[in-house]
C-alpha cells in the first residue's frame, strides 16, 4: 500500500469522524421543538382531505346521512383542536 492510499483512508476517517462529532462539540441543546408545527400542519392537511373525501362519499351515496353528519362533526372538532395547537406553538 502506498502513502497516498494510506493518507486517503486517514482523511476519509478523520473527515467522517469530524462531521459526526461536530454537533456534540457545541453547547447543550434541547430538542428545538417538542410539538412540531410541521407535524400539526400535516395532520391538519390530512384531516381536511378526509373531510373532502367524506363530502364526496356522501354525495355519491356511499355513506348514510346520519353517519355523514357524525363523522363530519368529529373531523371538524379534531381540526379545530389542531388549529388551536398550531396557534399555541406559533
Amino acid at each position: 500500500m502506498n502513502l497516498i492510499f494510506i493518507l486517503t483512508v486517514m482523511a476519509l476517517f478523520i473527515g467522517l469522524t469530524w462531521y459526526i462529532i461536530t454537533p456534540l462539540l457545541s453547547g447543550n441543546m434541547n430538542s428545538p421543538i417538542t410539538v412540531n408545527k410541521h407535524d400539526l400542519n400535516r395532520k391538519k392537511t390530512l384531516l381536511l382531505r378526509q373531510i373532502k373525501e367524506l363530502d364526496m362519499d356522501h354525495h355519491i351515496g356511499n355513506i348514510s346521512d346520519e353517519d355523514y353528519a357524525i363523522n363530519r362533526r368529529l373531523l371538524k372538532r379534531e381540526i379545530s383542536e389542531i388549529i388551536s395547537e398550531i396557534k399555541n406553538v406559533s
Binding site: L16, Y19, P23, M29, N36, D39, R42, L46, G61
Partner: protein, 655 residues
Amino acid sequence: MTPVLGSISLSLALGISAVSILLFSLFLKSEDYRFYLAGWRAALSVSVLSILATFFLLNELLISNFDIKYVAHYTSLETPTFYKITALWAGQSGSLLFWLFILSVYSLIVLAQYKNSFTKLMPWVSIVLVAVQSFFLILVNFVENPFSPTDADFVVVNGNGLNPLLQNLTMAIHPPTLYLGYVGFTVPFAFAIAALVTKDTGSLWVRSIRRWTLIAWLFQSGGIILGGWWAYQELGWGGYWAWDPVENASFMPWLTGTAFLHSIIIQEKKGMLKTWNMILILLTFTLCIFGTFLTRSGVMSSVHSFAVSNLGPVFLGFIAILLVVCTFLIIIRFPILKSEKQIESFTSRESGFLFNNVIFCVICFAVFWGTIFPVLSEAIRGEKITVGAPFFNQVNVPIGLMLLFLTGVGPLLVWRRTSKEAFIKNFTIPVLTGLVIFVFCFSMGLRNATLISFPLCGFVTMAILIEFQRGIKSRVTRFNESFLGALKMLISKNRSRYGGYIVHLGIMFMFIGFSGNAFDSETEFAIKTGETKEFGGYNFELVNIQPIERPNHIAWIAGLNVWNFHHELVTTLFPEKRVYFYKDPNPDKRQPHSELDIYSTLNKDIYSIFSGVDMEQQIAYLKIMINPLVWWVWFGGYVLIFGTMISLWPAKDSE
C-alpha cells in the same frame, strides 16, 4: 486500491452504524438534541459509505478486475458493458451489496425529508433503518464480501462470464425493480416499529407512510410483472408464472402489502383494524427478508445446501429477531391498538375490505405452505416432496376468483351498512352484466374456471365504471363541469381512490389473460427448409436457417413464415438457437440457449422455440405454442402501474 477502499467503506459503515444507534439511544435517554444531530449525521454517513462501496464494485466490474472473485465469476472480457453493470446483482455478494445500496438510497431520502418532522417517530425510524443496514453490512463484511480476492495462485486473464439467461434487457431491469420493492417496505416497517414504541398508533403514521408503501408496492408489482415477462420471453416453456420458490418469495410480501394498502383505508376512515394493520406491515417486511433468505440461502434447492451455506443461519437468526421484536411490541401495545369502532354489518364496505384482507392472507398462507413444504418434508422425513404448480393452481384459482369478485363488490357497498334499496340499486347492473357474459360463455361451450372468471371480469368492470359514473355525476351537479372536465377533476382531486380503481381495472385485465391459460396448445416438430407444417389453424413454413456470429455467441436463426388458412402471411418469426462461450476449448463450458420469437396479438400469441438444428440436413427442431389472451396480462400490468402512479401523484389541496 479500489477494492481495498470498497472493503474499508463497508467496514467503516458497519462501525458508524453502531455509533449511530448509540447516539440515537443517548438522545432518547437525555433528549439532548446534539445526540440526535450527531446520530443523524452518522446515519447519513452509513448510507453514503454503502453507496460508495457499491460504486467501487461497479468500477471493478467495468474495468474487468479479475483479481476480485466476484468480477471473475460473473463477467468476462467478452461480456458487453451493459451486462457488466447488471452483473452487480447477478451473484450472491453483489446482490446483497445491491440490497444495501437501495436501502441506503431510501434511508438518505427519509433522513433528509423528515429531519425536522415526525419529531416523536424519527429517532426510532432512524434506529430501525440503520439496524437493517447493519444486518446487511454484517453480511457483506463477514459472510459474503463482494471484494474478496480470487482464490487462484495464477493470474486470472479472463472471467467465467455472465449466465446467458441473464443477458436480457428485461432481466437487467427485473431484479433492481423487485429489490426496490423488497427494500422499500423497510420504510413503512420502520415507521410501524416507531409508532409502536412511541405509542403513537393513531392514523397519522398510517397516512404518512401510505406513499412509501405505494412506492414499494409499485416496484414490487413491476418487478413481479417483469419477472413474468422475462420468464415468458426467455425461458422457453411458454408460461410466465411457474410457482417457483423464488417467484413465490416475491409474491408473498406483495400479497400482504396489498392487504395492508386496503386495510389502512379502514383505519384512516374508521379507526378500525389497528392491530391488523400493524401485523400486516410487520409481516410484509419479514416476508421480504424471508424472500431474500429463500433466494439467497440455497435452502430451496436442498436443506443440505442450506447447511453448508453461511447465509442461511444468519438470515434465519435475523428473521427470528424480527418476529420476536414485532410480536413483543404488538403484545405490549395491544391495549392502545384496540379499534375505536366495530364492524356493524356484513353488508358494509368495511366488511368488504376485511374479507378482501382475509383472502389475501389465505392466498399468502397457501403460497407460503406450498413453498416451504419441500424443505419441511426433507428436514423431517428425509424425503423431499415437491409441491408443484397443480397444487398452487388448485388452491389459488378458486380463492383468486373470490378475490376478483370482492374487487367488484367493494366499491358497490356503502360504509357502515348497505340498505336493501342501495344494495339493489348498486348491484343490479354489474350482476346483470356478469350474467349476460356467463350465458354467452356457456353458449360458447366454456365449462372450466373461465366460465366463472370472464363473467366476474364483466361484473368488476361494470362496478368500477359505475363508481366513476357516480363520481362524475356528483361533480357535474356540484361544480357544473362538463363530463370530461368532471372525469379529469375527479381523478386529480381524488388520486388515491380513483388511481386505486384503475389498478383494479389492471388486475381485471390480468385475470382475462390468466383465463387464457385454459386454452393453451402446443406441438413439436422437425422441419426441413421449404417444408410446411400445420398447427392451431396456421401453416408454418421454414424459409431458411442462417448462421450468424456475434461478439459473445454464435446463433442459427430460423426464418419461419406463418400463414393462415386463407393463405395470407400472418407474420415471419425468427427464433434463434445460440451457443454462448463457443470459443471455449472446453466443450462443457459452451452453453446452448434458445432465443424465442413471439407474435403477439390481442387474442393470442404464436410462440416459437428453436430447440435444435441439423445444418447438414437443413432441419430445424421447433416447438410452437398458441397461447390465447397473454397480451392482456402485460396490458393489465401497464394499467396497474399507471393507476398506482396516479395514486402516488401528490394531491393538490386547493379546492
